[in-house]
């Protein structure tokens, strides 16, 4: 008869995971119920407070005095700032818009490079964002020497879980079949401040000032400005350098209370090259609530363009990750030393570094693979190995999402081998005091933080 400890261990290794799509649907139901309850309760509170006020003569008098004072203060503020628009209200209106299009230009210049016109854009493009269908962009990269521009297109279609990038110069397109969690995380990631929604959201986190009212392209607008670099914190723009200075401006249509122009310039000090680098993004020509059709988000790809297909497992789970590790062991005879051999630095960079590792391997699987791809181009290799690479890409994505969700992941492929049944290969946090562990022999277990500390202490350095 087995001990309670062993049964407890079995309980610990039992796991439940949730699928992202129903997960979101459940939360949406909760959110609706919660919002309704909050509104209902606050209305009830207001009503009961009003009854209390109306029944009590002294409270009535005090409230009247407070209202008069508040009106006087409000009037004086109105006169001094001239501001009638609340940015939070603008953000709420932007969030209600079903689809919008706008143009965007990007300017780069640096203080020690002469002859480059800061007013001339380096990249410009048109964007179409729809809550229902996704995101689409046509980008033109201008040649600073006056040569020909290069054109590319990007489409993100959450309904089809697909992203497409077309390079017209190379006559090539990349089609990626993404996993369930990709679009949700992309949305949370505040990729940069250069879409109107993120621009506003980030500006609201800072102490901004009103620039007063003016006219822009015949439209009455009110301007806002912040110089607080915190507006870039949490966006990918914040990773580009140090000693950041920012000048971020927004003009809002007084009538519609929607953005008319967003303009942000920031300065990085490049320590390697010992010079200041300037970056300016301008968003303009907004069309709000434009009618869109799903077909607009299906780019037309000329037949003669070469394809590069990337597939991720539809659901990123612990089981896929283990499958990926099995494929790697078969291919390399061991685990890759560095997690970045599996997880590319950039989310869009799918360069299968693992193939370069396989070139040095002499396992039967590696020899078979090398024979299979002999004489093929990179494109041909990628497309031939789409299904073979999928579990490895799934493993990479699994680890990437653990990092994104701040689950405190760690990987010990450098010292742990497939024979090490008692050594931690991968671990991540599942609750306040518990970690999930994949051991060297690929069995899994949930352990307490204390138990994990003991296991990791025993790992070879």
């Amino acid at each position: 008869m087995k001990s309670a400890d062993e049964i407890k261990r079995l309980f610990n290794s039992a796991a439940v995971q949730t699928n992202a799509t129903p997960d979101d649907a459940v939360f949406e139901t909760l959110k609706t119920a919660y919002t309704r309850t909050v509104e209902h309760k606050s209305a009830q509170r207001e009503l009961s407070m009003w009854r209390f006020v109306m029944k009590n003569p002294s409270v009535k008098l005090a409230i009247a005095a407070v209202i008069v004072i508040a009106c006087l203060i409000g009037l004086s503020l109105w006169r001094t700032t001239g501001s009638g628009i609340a940015l939070a209200d603008v953000l709420a209106r932007v969030e209600r818009v079903k689809a919008c299009s706008f143009k965007r230009s990007l300017h780069f210049w640096s203080e020690k490079v002469t002859g480059k016109d800061p007013n001339k854009p380096y990249i410009r493009g048109t964007f179409l964002i729809s809550q229902e269908y996704g995101w689409k962009a046509k980008i033109e990269r201008l040649d600073p020497n006056g040569g020909e521009s290069t054109f590319s297109e990007y489409c993100l279609v959450p309904q089809k879980k697909t992203t497409i990038a077309i390079s017209h110069k190379e006559k090539k397109y990349t089609r990626k079949e993404q996993d369930d969690g990709f679009f949700e995380r992309i949305q949370k990631a505040n990729i940069d401040i250069t879409d109107p929604h993120t621009f506003l959201k980030q500006m609201l986190k800072t102490k901004y000032e009103s620039l007063g009212r003016s006219t822009m392209d015949g439209i009455a607008v009110e301007g806002f400005r912040t110089t607080d670099p915190n507006s870039l914190v949490g966006t990918s723009s914040s990773n580009s350098g140090q000693s950041k200075r920012l000048d971020q401006k927004l003009w809002v249509d007084v009538k519609t209370r929607l953005p008319v122009r967003c303009d942000a310039t920031w300065v990085d000090f490049d320590q390697m090259e010992n010079k200041k680098k300037y970056e300016r993004h301008v968003l303009y020509d907004f069309q709000w609530d434009v009618p869109v059709a799903g077909a607009e988000f299906e780019p037309v790809i000329p037949d003669h363009y070469a394809s590069w297909v990337v597939k991720f497992p539809p659901h990123i789970t612990e089981e896929n990750a283990i499958q990926g590790l099995k494929v790697l062991v078969e291919l390399l005879g061991k685990y890759p030393e560095n997690i970045y051999h599996i997880v590319p630095e950039n989310i869009n960079d799918d360069a299968p570094t693992v193939l370069r590792l396989a070139e040095k391997s002499e396992t039967p699987a590696a020899l078979r693979l090398k024979e299979e791809i002999k004489g093929l181009t990179d494109d041909e290799i990628n497309n031939k190995l789409v299904d073979f690479l999928m579990p490895i890409r799934g493993l990479g994505r699994f680890y990437r999402w653990l990092q994104f969700d701040k689950k405190d992941p760690a990987y010990y492929g450098k010292t742990v081998t497939p024979k090490d049944a008692d050594k931690v290969l991968v671990r991540w946090k599942v609750s306040e005091n518990e970690y999930r562990v994949i051991f060297g022999d690929l069995h899994t277990q949930t352990v307490t933080a204390e138990a994990l500390a003991g296991l990791e202490k025993d790992l070879p350095k």
Partner: protein
């Protein structure tokens, strides 16, 4: 624990973000608890959704000084008991006896996906009498003390300890072969 208190405080002030954090923190925990108690992933999804709905609609009934985890566990236990009672009343398919859904048999809208060990535990647990199953689950999965379980079951500590002992004996014999693996 302090984090939970902060979450309750924010929830009571209308924060959807706090609701999201509570949901993310406890959904898997509650699903695991429910599956262990009912042996049925499908019913468990409904139960856990009901528990969160209860929280979303009655958030003002939890004291900031109260225990969020215990509130959710109590709601879960009550909901399962009500479902069990309804099933008996309507003489529908035996709520307790149905085998846990196998992960391969994925419904398109399936929320909870269980691993093999979870499936084995679910299958073994449904063979235990309801009271013993509750005690073993609350002790192992929820980490509650006998005093807390006694208060949830409205029974004496001695009775709860007896149920735990008998439950464990039966579970050992049921899982013996699995544990040896």
């Amino acid at each position: 624990m302090l984090q939970d208190k902060l979450l309750i405080w924010r929830l009571q002030r209308g924060s959807v973000d706090a609701l999201r954090q509570i949901y993310d923190k406890y959904k898997v925990y509650l699903l695991k608890l429910a599956i262990t108690l009912t042996g049925d992933a499908c019913h468990s999804e409904d139960v856990v959704q009901d528990v969160f709905l209860k929280l979303a609609e009655s958030y003002d009934r939890i004291s900031v000084h109260g225990n969020l985890k215990n509130f959710l566990i109590t709601c879960l236990m009550n909901r399962i008991r009500t479902l069990r009672r309804d099933c008996r009343r309507h003489q529908a398919a035996q709520f307790d006896g149905s085998a846990i859904e196998r992960p391969q048999a994925c419904r398109p809208d399936q929320w909870a996906v269980v691993n093999e060990q979870m499936q084995r535990i679910g299958e073994a647990m449904v063979k235990l009498p309801v009271e013993q199953r509750e005690v073993v689950t609350l002790r192992f999965e929820a980490g509650l003390g006998f005093r807390q379980i006694a208060s949830l079951q409205n029974a004496s500590i001695n009775t709860v300890q007896g149920r735990y002992r008998y439950g464990m004996e039966k579970l050992r014999s049921l899982l013996n072969s699995e544990v040896e693996k």
